[in-house]
């Protein structure tokens, strides 16, 4: 079953074919699809799926098939550029050499470090791309700042799930079992086919999250698995014969989970033996879930009682595997959604069994290394990380700043000023990765010096960049694909450079080359970067990867190229074998050593130790005074095959499949608003407005609309104020800043109310002020009619600049004690996600 050891071959026509596995840029998750790239005369002329690849077996998505267009697109930036800070927002970029780039950027870095301290430099990372491995070492080790930020409000992507996993389950990332660990896949004698795969707030076919090849679900359906969808929309996947659907109101996932648990407990379907042996807090958990009767849950989620019972009975079987999605993270109630999800798999005995929920061992390889580069920061510098003491549940698990806190710091300059920004693959003004992006835009312009790394000119780079460092595509550099960023390594794949256009540098090349020039030694006196040998990328890059693989796996990067795809195999029921805890004892790496149905740490941090449901904070139910004005619930963020979030919109073959963003509306609702298929629609709520094109579908509830995220128009004027039309369809402007869960996780990206109206076209939108729910509450009351007694304040006690604002306010929000207290001493909870 092993792959051919030949990974590069010359063809009779003089072209050269190179085998590789896919990641990014442009964006994708580490799914590692196998492909052969054929290059002739410096041009990528063919992409062919690699049939020997055990997981994708020759299959490719359209973003990979379209690489010949992408690699040679006129949209790409392939030389470094600079622009005078006084020309920000104008297309006045000037090509420069790499020598000048290094001198300019290193000079600035050293100046800010010496003058204001290294913490005055802030690195931003985006989502999914390979940069997720490298933006941490870029900050910690190359630039030596403790401040690296994933700007999504409430860290609402992957991080919350990883953190919850660490606190509740004490293991690496949990993933469904699709037999990816094994060369012989579904034929492996240890593997068992899941009876049901539950896609909860996740549609893996298009999203392929974290390294799960989505169409493996189709493979398993052909073998007999059934899919259960928990989603506000009926999806094509849920509509397959024999599959089931829990179509719920956006943001009510915790309630549906508690309702499912209620049915399992009431009907005594749980695996009591497993619970007695491996779970903590069963009695308290049972008492809690008994409060959530199917009737009550049906009322708040809109799911029929009988359907809740039908799904619960299925989920109590074995083996069942839950694919938990982004929706878990994107809610202030998301910590509880994550908690109940793991609890459901635990009480049914589905954890780490064949066909169940496979958990990763402690982090490995690059996933581990990127966090270990923290050694290059002195402890006092590490303590300056923004928001780390205020949000221990986040900062104990994540190595970043707190994102919402970071925006407050940029806006107020408290507790200290940020002077330099470095965007490593993040276009967070056309988000995906931020709430209230207009506020981020204004805050970025305060910085003295801004570096942007990307593939094309983005609205973010155009708005605030001073130096642009161009990236090579996935076809153009050497690297390793590691699924789940090392937290549950299904496989490692070799990424091989087939060609290189222009003068670009990959993320790891930037880390090493800047690292060597800045010549930083950490507190231990050693430099992370000077150890990689060679002056050219064909030397120091393979050496870097060899130094990652050799100690753990015993082979170097060149051998990985020949292996192609390295699948490590998998050990089931690791908790029985002492493979999850650092002390080697059986059990889980939690405080109690058990799966915590009752969380000792949530309790210590002032959060409810048991899962509970909280009504979405900006819904017709929580703000009845606005129910007439904003009667619909808005969901957003569903993925499509032709794009990765805000990317790919400048490539015609891919844009072909979606020219403009669409808002999905039920035909009855559309009729009530006088909206027809294809009409432009303006969506509005107290925080913002956006325009998208109507698509009428019966697969959405008449009380819900679904909008697209990440839209900007590369074909439009790029200069300020238009910025490629980045504000016209920008749905994240409807999501409030800093309205997140108590522990600091989860923003309501997918569950805010809205109104809709027909408009003439895309142009003419009046941008709304992005009100702060605390600082601007007086205005929200006056302009929007918000009842201040219904605005809850969870976070003002430690938000920079809020105390002063509250003093002058007539209207004050209702204070909700968040009880954030320091982490219990003596615990080491470092998550390496």
């Amino acid at each position: 079953m092993a792959m051919s050891r030949e990974w590069k071959k010359e063809n009779p026509d003089g072209s050269v074919s190179v085998r590789t596995t896919c990641w990014s840029p442009p964006g994708d998750h580490p799914v590692g699809c196998g492909m052969w790239l054929t290059v002739k005369d410096g041009k990528l002329i063919d992409v062919e799926g690699d049939e020997e690849h055990a997981i994708t077996q020759g299959r490719l998505c359209i973003r990979a098939l379209d690489f010949p267009e992408i690699v040679h697109s006129p949209s790409r930036i392939v030389y470094p550029m600079k622009r005078d800070p006084s020309d920000r927002g104008k297309d006045k970029w000037e090509r420069i050499s790499w020598d000048e780039t290094f001198d300019l950027v290193c000079g600035k870095v050293n100046y800010f470090k010496e003058t204001y301290g290294a913490e005055s430099i802030l690195v931003f990372g985006g989502t999914g791309r390979e940069a997720c491995i490298y933006y941490y070492p870029l900050a910690f080790s190359t630039l030596q700042t403790p401040n690296v930020c994933y700007a999504q409000s409430g860290w609402s992507c992957y991080g919350p799930r990883c953190s919850i996993t660490d606190y509740i389950l004490g293991a690496g990332y949990p993933e469904i079992d699709f037999a990816g660990y094994f060369e012989d896949r579904y034929d492996n004698p240890e593997f068992e086919l899941p009876k049901y795969v539950v896609c909860w707030g996740k549609m893996p076919l298009a999203s392929n999250g974290d390294g799960l090849f989505g169409h493996a679900l189709i493979d398993m359906m052909k073998l007999g698995s059934k899919i259960i969808m928990i989603d506000p929309r009926i999806t094509w996947l849920g509509a397959r014969e024999g599959n089931m659907n829990l179509q719920i109101k956006p943001g009510t996932d915790a309630a549906i989970g508690l309702g499912i648990a209620n049915v399992i407990v009431t009907e005594n379907l749980q695996d009591q033996e497993w619970i007695d042996k491996w779970c903590f807090g069963w009695d308290e958990f049972k008492e809690r879930v008994l409060q959530y009767t199917p009737e009550l849950v049906s009322e708040v989620t809109w799911a029929p009682v009988e359907q809740i019972k039908k799904v619960a009975r299925a989920m109590a079987e074995k083996p069942v595997s839950i694919a938990w999605g982004l929706a878990v993270d994107q809610s202030p109630n998301g910590t509880q959604v994550g908690h109940i999800t793991i609890a459901l798999q635990a009480i049914t005995g589905n954890i780490d069994i064949p066909g169940g929920l496979c958990v990763g061992p402690p982090s490995s390889l690059l996933g581990k290394w990127r966090m270990e580069t923290r050694k290059d920061l002195a402890p006092d510098l590490w303590d300056k990380r923004l928001g780390s003491s205020e949000y221990p549940a986040l900062s104990n698990a994540m190595a970043t700043t707190h994102p919402d806190y970071t925006l407050d710091v940029l806006e107020t300059g408290e507790p200290y000023e940020i002077k330099m920004l470095w965007f490593n693959s993040s276009n967070l003004l056309a988000p995906t990765c931020s709430a209230a992006p207009i506020r981020w835009h204004d805050a970025f312009l305060k910085a003295e010096f801004v570096v942007v790394q990307d593939l094309v000119m983005t609205p973010t780079a155009m708005a605030c960049g001073d130096v642009f460092l161009p990236l090579p595509t996935v076809c153009e550099h050497d690297a390793i694909v590691i699924t789940h960023y090392g937290r549950n390594t299904v496989f490692l794949g070799a990424m091989n450079e087939a060609l290189r256009v222009g003068e670009t540098k990959s993320d790891v090349e930037i880390c090493i080359e800047f690292g060597k020039r800045l010549n930083n030694a950490g507190p231990d006196g050693t430099s992370t970067w000077n150890v990689f040998e060679g002056d050219t990328r064909d030397k120091f890059v393979p050496d870097f990867f060899s130094k990652q693989t050799e100690p753990e796996l015993g082979f170097d990067f060149d051998e990985l190229r020949r292996i192609g795809l390295y699948q490590p195999g998998f050990t089931y029921r690791k908790y029985e074998k002492g493979l999850l805890r650092f002390d080697g004892e059986p059990g889980f790496n939690t405080v109690t050593g058990l799966v915590e149905l009752y969380s000792t740490l949530f309790d210590a941090w002032g959060e409810d130790p048991l899962p509970y449901f909280e009504e979405p904070r900006w819904s017709p139910v929580s703000h009845p005074e606005l129910a007439d004005k904003y009667p619909l619930m808005m969901c957003t963020g569903a993925r499509e095959y032709n794009t990765f979030h805000s990317e790919h919109r400048m490539f015609p073959n891919l844009r072909h499949f979606r020219e403009y963003p669409d808002i999905e509306i039920h035909p009855d609702t559309a009729a009530a608003y006088g909206i027809q298929e294809g009409d432009w629609v303006e969506v509005e709520n107290p925080f913002g407005r956006a325009r998208q094109k109507a698509t009428l579908v019966v697969t959405i509830d008449p009380r819900v609309v679904h909008t697209r995220h990440g839209w900007w128009y590369p074909e439009q004027d790029g200069e300020e104020p238009n910025l490629f039309g980045v504000w016209k369809s920008n749905i994240n402007n409807l999501v409030p800043h800093f309205d997140i869960g108590r522990l600091g996780f989860g923003a309501p990206m997918k569950s805010v109310f809205c109104s809709i109206k027909k408009v003439d076209d895309l142009h003419g939108l009046k941008v709304k002020k992005s009100y702060d729910i605390i600082k601007d509450l007086d205005e929200l009351v006056a302009d929007e009619g918000v009842d201040p007694a219904r605005v809850l304040d969870y976070h003002s006690t430690h938000r920079p600049g809020v105390a002063a604002a509250l003093e002058t306010q007539k209207n004050k929000p209702t204070y909700v004690a968040d009880g954030v207290i320091p982490a219990p001493s003596g615990l080491s909870l470092e998550v390496q996600y």
């Binding site: 062919e48 189709i218 095959y641």
Partner: protein, 117 residues
């Protein structure tokens, strides 16, 4: 024409509308995706068959080759599969002589189409 009696079989209950066949074909034919596609994916439904049953839906995507489809004759000559068959994310396309495809259709069951471009 060596492939005179060949056709394509679509086990379309599994077609996820991933568009892979369309883009794979575009690169094979070196043609314009919008103006001269070699294959397109059509949509049937979604129809909610029973308002009281959340799971009763009829909703399918059905790939249909156009007049430009040449069954990737040059790829077949080189011992490869047609590009859409090779790359389809759902592996729901097969190719071969029509009589063999008819037998396959019987084995596969419902929601299957055979098209001879």
């Amino acid at each position: 024409m060596a492939y005179e009696n060949y056709g394509l079989l679509f086990d379309y209950k599994y077609c996820s509308n991933c568009h892979t066949c369309e883009v794979a074909c575009k690169y094979h034919l070196k043609t314009d995706l919008a103006k001269k596609p070699g294959i397109v994916v059509l949509e049937k439904g979604p129809y909610h068959l029973d308002e009281d049953d959340p799971d009763a839906w009829d909703w399918d995507y059905i790939p249909v080759p156009t007049a430009l489809c040449d069954l990737c004759a040059d790829r077949l000559d080189a011992g490869k599969k047609p590009s859409c068959v090779h790359h389809c994310l759902a592996f729901c396309i097969e190719y071969g002589p029509i009589d063999e495809l008819a037998k396959r259709a019987q084995e596969i069951g419902h929601k299957v189409s055979i098209i001879r471009p």
